[in-house]
C-alpha cells in the first residue's frame, strides 16, 4: 500500500493536524513503508475468525453474554460528588471562572 502526499493531507485533516511540508513528506514516506510491513497480515486467512476487541472476552464468564460476562463493570446509579468546578478549570488555558473559553466558532 503506497500513501500519496494527497492521502497524507486527507488523513492529517481527519486527525486535526496541520503538517509542515517537511513533516508531510517524511510521514508519507514512513507511513508507506509501515503499511507495506502491515500488509503481511493479508498472508493469513481469517475467514470465520471473530475479531478480538477486548481482552476480557478471553477470560470473562463464557456462559453469559455481553457485558454480563464481566463482573464489576456495572455500578449502582447513585449520586456522587464530582470534581469541583474550580479544580476542573484549574488547567484551562482560558476560562471565565465558570466555563472554558475558546475562540469564536461561527464567523459573522
Amino acid at each position: 500500500m503506497t500513501i500519496t502526499e494527497k492521502d497524507a493531507i486527507y488523513v492529517a485533516d481527519l486527525a486535526n493536524l496541520d503538517l509542515t511540508e517537511q513533516e508531510r513528506l517524511s510521514l508519507t514516506r514512513d507511513l508507506s513503508s509501515i503499511l507495506e510491513y502491515i500488509g503481511r497480515l493479508n498472508e493469513l486467512d481469517t475467514t470465520g475468525v471473530p475479531p478480538m476487541a477486548q481482552v476480557s472476552a478471553r477470560y470473562g464468564a463464557p456462559e453469559k453474554s455481553g457485558s454480563e460476562q464481566f463482573s464489576g463493570t456495572m455500578r449502582q446509579d447513585l449520586h456522587k460528588t464530582s470534581l469541583a468546578r474550580e479544580a476542573a478549570l484549574q488547567n484551562a488555558p482560558d476560562s471565565n471562572g465558570s466555563f472554558f473559553k475558546v475562540p469564536k466558532v461561527i464567523e459573522k
Binding site: 502491515i38 475479531p51 478471553r58
Partner: protein, 475 residues
C-alpha cells in the same frame, strides 16, 4: 545505611527497628538524585514536599510503635504517564508541559496508602510511544549501566532510576513491552500484570485495550510486594477485574519443581543475538535443574504480532489523543484565530514526531474504506495470537523466552528507522495483545557488561507462577 542496597522489605524493617527514619531515607535519595541524575535524566519532576510529608507520617507511626504498613518508607518513582494530584504530569509531552492534575492515579494512591513515598515523576517516551526513551520531549534518558546506550522504553526513566539506585522501586506502564524491555536493558525486574489486574484510573491513555501498569524493582520479591499493593478491583476503572489477589510473597517460597515450561521456537529464531540466546538458554537449564520440565512449543502467529500491534495500538491512540485540543487543559496555541485553527495549531505545536506518526497511522487504519482491511483484520489476527497462547497453556504452565532480541542499543542507533525501532518489542508485544502477564528478570550480561533479561509469561491472572519462576532464576 547504604541506600544502594535497600529493598522494599529491608527499608520497612529498618524504619520499624528505628535504625533510621523515613525522613532520613528520603533526604538521602534526594541527595543522590541531585548529585547523579543530571547525566541519567531519569527524573522529570521531583515532589519533595509531598515526599517529606509522607515520610513524617511514616516516622510518626514508627515513633508511636504502630505496625507499619507493608511499603512504609519505601521511596518510589512514578512514570510520568500516571497523574499525581498537584504534581506536574507531562506524559513526556510538550502538550502537557504545565499540566497539574487535580486527582491521583489509583495505583499511586494505593502505594501511598501502603506507606510508600513518591519521590518524583520519571522520564518516558512521549505518551509511552517508543522503545528507547528517545521520544521524550524533555530529552533522552541514559542507561546507568552504559551512558552511551538507551535505557529502553517507554518506561526508560523508571527502569534507569531503579538501576541507578535513585529509587528503590518504580511504577511503569506496558502497552507493547514498555515495562519489560527497559527492565531487561537496565538489569532490573519488570512485571506486567494480567490485563485488568491493576486499575488504570489516572493512567494517561495510549491504547486502552493494551495499557497496563506494573512495577520495576531490584528484586522479584519487591515486585510481588508492589503488585499485591496495587492489584485488585477498582470501581473507577470498568476494565479492572474483580478477581481475588493472592499473597504473592507467600507463593514465592514454593518450589518450582514439576512446573512445565514451554520454549517457543519462534522466539529463538533469526534476529536473536547470540549472547542473549546463550544467557537465556543457560537459565532455562538452571530451571531444569530445579525440577522444571521443558517442552518445545510453537506460537505460530508470532511473526504477525508487530504488524497487528501497530494497527491496533495506533488506532486506539488516534482516538485517545483526540482529547488534546487546547480547550480544557494542555497546550493552547496563541497563533489561532478560529476554533478549528486552535485545535490544529495546538496539536501541531504540542505533539512530537513519533506521536504524529502514530496518530496518522491510526487515523488512516480507521478511515472510511480502510477499516476492514486494517483495523478489523488486525483484530482478527489478535484472536489468532491469543489462541496461540491458550493452546500452549493447555500443555505448559509458563513460557520462557528472551525479553528482547538484543541487549541495550546505542543512543541514536535506531532513531532514523521507525520499523527497526518497532522490532525491539518483537518478543514483548504478544503478551500485551493476549492480555497475559509477563516478567523480565535479569539473567546475565554481555561481554561488554550490558544486562540481559529473560521473559516469563503465564496464564491470565497467574502472576503467581510467573513470579515463582522469576524468583528461581534470580537465585
Amino acid at each position: 545505611m547504604n541506600i544502594q542496597e535497600l529493598t522494599v522489605e529491608s527499608t520497612r524493617a529498618a524504619i520499624a527497628e528505628k535504625q533510621f527514619t523515613a525522613t532520613h531515607v528520603v533526604e538521602e535519595f534526594y541527595k543522590k538524585i541531585k548529585a547523579e541524575d543530571g547525566e541519567t535524566h531519569a527524573y522529570l519532576t521531583l515532589c519533595e514536599e509531598r515526599a517529606l510529608r509522607q515520610a513524617s507520617r511514616v516516622d510518626e507511626m514508627a515513633r508511636n510503635g504502630d505496625t507499619l504498613p507493608p511499603l512504609a518508607g519505601v521511596p518510589i518513582a512514578i512514570k510520568d504517564v500516571m497523574v499525581t494530584k498537584d504534581v506536574r504530569s507531562t506524559a513526556g509531552s510538550k502538550i502537557l508541559q504545565n499540566f497539574i492534575p487535580p486527582y491521583d492515579c489509583t495505583a499511586v494512591e494505593r502505594l501511598e496508602a501502603a506507606g510508600a513515598i513518591v519521590l518524583g515523576k520519571t522520564n518516558c517516551d512521549e505518551f509511552a510511544m517508543g522503545s528507547s526513551n528517545e521520544n521524550s520531549a524533555y530529552g533522552p534518558v541514559r542507561n546507568p549501566r552504559d551512558p552511551s546506550c538507551v535505557p529502553g522504553g517507554s518506561s526508560g526513566g523508571s527502569a534507569a532510576a531503579v538501576a541507578a539506585g535513585t529509587a528503590i522501586a518504580a511504577l511503569g506502564s506496558d502497552t507493547g513491552g514498555s515495562i519489560r524491555q527497559p527492565a531487561s536493558f537496565c538489569g532490573v525486574v519488570g512485571l506486567m500484570p494480567t490485563y485488568g489486574r491493576v486499575s488504570r484510573y489516572g493512567l494517561i491513555a495510549f491504547a486502552s485495550s493494551l495499557d497496563h501498569i506494573g512495577p520495576l524493582t531490584r528484586t522479584v520479591k519487591d515486585a510481588a510486594m508492589l503488585l499485591r499493593t496495587i492489584a485488585g478491583h477498582d470501581p473507577l476503572d470498568s476494565t479492572s477485574a474483580d478477581v481475588p489477589v493472592p499473597d504473592y510473597e507467600e507463593e514465592l517460597a514454593k518450589p518450582v519443581k514439576g512446573l512445565k515450561l514451554g520454549v517457543p521456537q519462534e522466539y529463538f529464531a533469526d534476529g536473536l543475538d547470540g549472547e542473549v540466546r546463550a544467557a537465556v538458554e543457560a537459565n532455562i537449564q538452571k530451571l531444569v535443574q530445579d525440577g522444571c520440565e521443558i517442552m518445545p512449543i510453537s506460537l505460530p502467529h508470532t511473526a504477525y504480532a508487530i504488524p497487528t500491534y501497530y494497527v491496533i495500538a495506533t488506532a486506539e491512540a488516534s482516538a485517545n489523543l483526540a482529547r488534546y485540543d487546547g480547550v480544557r487543559y494542555g497546550h493552547r496555541s496563541t497563533q489561532a484565530r478560529t476554533l478549528s485553527e486552535m485545535y490544529r495549531k495546538s496539536r501541531d505545536e504540542g505533539f512530537g514526531a513519533e506521536v504524529k506518526r502514530r496518530i496518522m497511522l491510526g487515523t488512516y487504519a480507521l478511515s472510511s474504506g480502510y477499516y476492514d482491511a486494517y483495523y478489523l483484520k488486525a483484530q482478527k489476527v489478535r484472536t489468532l495470537l491469543a489462541r496461540d497462547f491458550e493452546n500452549a497453556f493447555c500443555q505448559v504452565d509458563a513460557i520462557v523466552t528472551p525479553t528482547a532480541p538484543t541487549a541495550a542499543f546505542k543512543l541514536g542507533e535506531k532513531t532514523s528507522d521507525p520499523l527497526a525501532m518497532y522490532l525491539a518489542d518483537i518478543y514483548t508485544v504478544t503478551a500485551d495483545l493476549a492480555g497475559i502477564p509477563g516478567i523480565s528478570v535479569p539473567c546475565g550480561q554481555t561481554k561488554t557488561g550490558l544486562p540481559i533479561g529473560m521473559q516469563i509469561l503465564g496464564r491470565h491472572f497467574d502472576e503467581t507462577t510467573v513470579l515463582r519462576l522469576a524468583h528461581a532464576v534470580e537465585r
